[in-house]
């Protein structure tokens, strides 16, 4: 049961995070194609956003590791 819970935890988090990463990347590409001069600053902002969003998936990963470790042997 704990393995199922761990899989669901990281799987659902990955689902949400992949959508939000797609939105960030899509919007950045959109803005760069509109205003190519802003490439440098937009790239930095995009990576900062990536790291924030990625962190959510990693919280879920920590939770799933905790679930696996607390599984009854």
């Amino acid at each position: 049961m704990n393995s199922l819970a761990a899989g669901l935890a990281i799987g659902l988090a990955a689902l949400g995070v992949s959508f939000s990463l797609a939105i960030v990347y899509f919007k950045t590409l959109d803005s760069i194609s509109r205003q190519p001069d802003l490439l440098g600053s937009l790239r930095v902002l995009m990576f900062i956003g990536f790291a924030f969003i990625e962190a959510i998936a990693l919280y879920a990963l920590v939770i799933s590791f905790m679930l696996i470790q607390s599984a009854p042997k």
Partner: protein, 233 residues
Amino acid sequence: MQEHGAGFSIPFSVAGLDLSITLPVMIMWGVSSFIFLFLLIANHSHSVKRVQFFIFDFISDAFAKSIHTKTKIWYSFLLTLFLFVFFNNLCGLFPGGESPTGNINVTAALAVAVFLISQISGFFVHGPTHVTHLIPSGIPKVMLVFFIPLELISLLAKPFSLAVRLFANMMAGHKVLLIFMGLGMASPALIKLLPFGGVVLISLFEMFVSFIQAFIFTYLASFYISDAVNGAH
């Protein structure tokens, strides 16, 4: 990349507190002395000085300027924080190494340091009125009963998320590396190179993540300090 607590350790305790000198502790000492020597050598060598100027410009552009008042005081703190976190992150990629920032105790200590520094400097700048930053403006007095605890929670959640973000990133990267190495061990001889390629790619990605996470950690630290010093509300 050993599990934390395993392997090399010199037992040492003071008044019941376990202060054993383990591998991450040694690595942290090594990193600190490396940064110290690097900046010391940079004062006397022209080729190293170029690297030093590059780092200094980067830090002052990226972080220190976001705190508008007294940039020079914060500059040295943010520089130390960035270099320490970055080199500690990188240490996990050496064979037999372990990144100290992949250990929740280290990141929690760093986050608490950032929290204390931002709050103390807030009190230093604003005096006792710094407490009023907890009260959001433009809200009916009745609602304050709900909003002040919320603001307190959000204040305390900042260092927590700062610590867990760095820790989880470092730990997850190393777990993925370990899993790929395990795949390499378990797979038959013909396709052993495939997981090896995965290990190489993930290692390169981890170098990138090390930099980005050190950047994010320092960026957020400067953001919290400027929040406390300049008063966002």
